[in-house]
Amino acid sequence: MLNRQRIPFLATGHFFISAILFPVRNSFLFVAMIPLASAFVLTATPRSITRSLQAGAPSLPQQGQPATNVPPQQAAPPPGVPPQVAQQPPVHTGPVIVIDPAHGGTDTGARGQSGVIEKDLVLLMARITRYALEREGFRVVMTRNDDSNPSYDDRAAIANAYRDVIFISFHISSTGTPNTAWAYFYQFSQTPPNASAITANANTLPITPPRTTSLLGWEEAQRPFTAASHHLADILQADLTLRFSGSPAAASGVAVRGLRSVAGPAVAIELSNVAVSDANQLVAMAAPVATAVVHSITATRPPGGQSGIPGTR
C-alpha cells in the first residue's frame, strides 16, 4: 500500500541518481537526465499519498501547505487492494458541512502573550472537526486549509455553491471567561440595511427607497435561514455548555459578518481565550468542540436524513 513510508525510499532514489550524475554535470547527458530523473520520481509518487497526508490525522497548520477541498472519501482506493463493500465511501445525500477557520494570512486574528495565534488554532480545530464529521459520513468542505485568507464573500461563495449546506465558523476570542465556548447566529436588524450611502454629514443623507424586488440579495442571504441557524446554534450551545462549564445556556444573536452572506444554516463558535498561559489549554478544547459539532449536526441533520431544522432547503 502506498503511504508516507514510501516517501523516504523515493527521496533516497532521487539522491542516488543525482549523485551518479554529479561528475558529469557539465555534459549534455546531465542536462538531459535531470528532467528525466525528476519526472521518474514525480510519476512514481502517487496522488493518493498527497491525499492521505491531507486527510489523515489532523496536524498543526504549516506555512505554504496547499489548500484542498476534496474529502478523503473521494480518493481512489489504493492499487493492489480489491474493492470491498465495507471500504466503499458513504453516499452523501445529507448536507454538506462547510467549516470555516476564521482569519488567515496576514490577518492573524487574536494573539495571546504566550504566543497563541488565533488563525493557527482555529485551523487545527477545523481539521479535527472535519475529521470527526467525515467519520460520521458527512461530506466536509473547508473554506481554507492553509495560511490563506479568503474574503468574507469568498468564504460564503464556497458554502453557497452547494444546495444543502451547513456553515460552521471557528473563532477564538481575546477576552471572556477562559475555557468557555459560545455559539452565535446572525441577528439581523429589524430595519433594512440601506445605510451604505450614509456619511457623517447628516445634511447629505439620501433617503434610500425600500426594496421592491423579491430576489434575495447577497448581503442578506442569511436572512431566510435565521431561524434555522438559531435552532442549530441553540442545540450546539447546549452541548458546549455541558462540556465547558461557565458557557452560556443559550446561543447569542450577533451580527457576525462572516455569517451574513451564507445561504444556509450558519453558526460561529468562539472559544475563550488567547490570553491563556499555555496554548495546550485551547488545543485540549478542540476535540470536545468537534464532538459537540458532530452531535448537534447529527441531531438536526443526519447524513442522508431529513432536515430537522426549520427553514432549511
Binding site: 490577518d107 487574536a110 481575546s174 429589524q190 445605510a195 456619511t199 443623507l205
Partner: protein, 212 residues
Amino acid sequence: MPRNLKITLAILSVAVLIGLISLRSLHRRITGLKENPTSEEQARRELLATTTSAPTDARTQARIFWAAGPDRIAPVQVALALSADPVKRGKQVLNELITDAPAADQRTLPADAVVLGFYILPDGTAIADFSEALASEMPSGILSEQMAVDSIKSTLENNVPGLSRLKILIHGQEVETLAGHVDLTGFFDLNPLSAQTPSAPAGNPTPSGTKK
C-alpha cells in the same frame, strides 16, 4: 581687522546667541512632552470634550454601561451635567463611556477612541462617528466587539430618548466590521418595542453600582 570680517563675526555671534536661547526653550519643551505624553487622539479628545458640556446643562444621573465581568455589561449611575439637546446629550454620554470607566477592566471601548460626531435623523436614527482607534485598538473577538456595541447601544438607549436605531461610522465612513467580526454595515436596533432574542453579552443587565 577688515570691516567686512568684523560685521560677519558680529552676525555669527548674534546667531549663536539666538541658537543657544532657542535650544534652551526647545529642551524645556521636550522635557515637558516627556513628562506628559499625550497622543494625538487624546489631544483631540480633550479639545472636543471641552465643547460638549455647557454651564446650563442640568446635572442628572446617567446610566453608563461598562463591563461587569469578562462577558457581560451592566449600568453604572454617574452624575453628569447633560444637555437637553439629544444630539449634545448623546455625545456627552458616549464621551463619558470612553473616558471615565471606573476601572481599566471595565472598559468596553479603547481609551484612545474619540467621538468625532453624533447626529440624529428625523426618523430617530442615531449616527455615531468614532475615530479609527475604536477599530484599530479594539481587542479582536466576537465577544469583545459585541460588548463594545452593546455598551454604546445601551448607554444611548438609557440616556437619549427617542432613538430607534444606531449606525456606527469610523472616521466618517461606513466600515465592514468593527475589528474583524461584528458587522457595521447595517443598523443596530435601539429601544425595540417587542421582546427579541437577547444579544447575549448585554442581556439582562443589572445595575452594578454608582459612580461620583
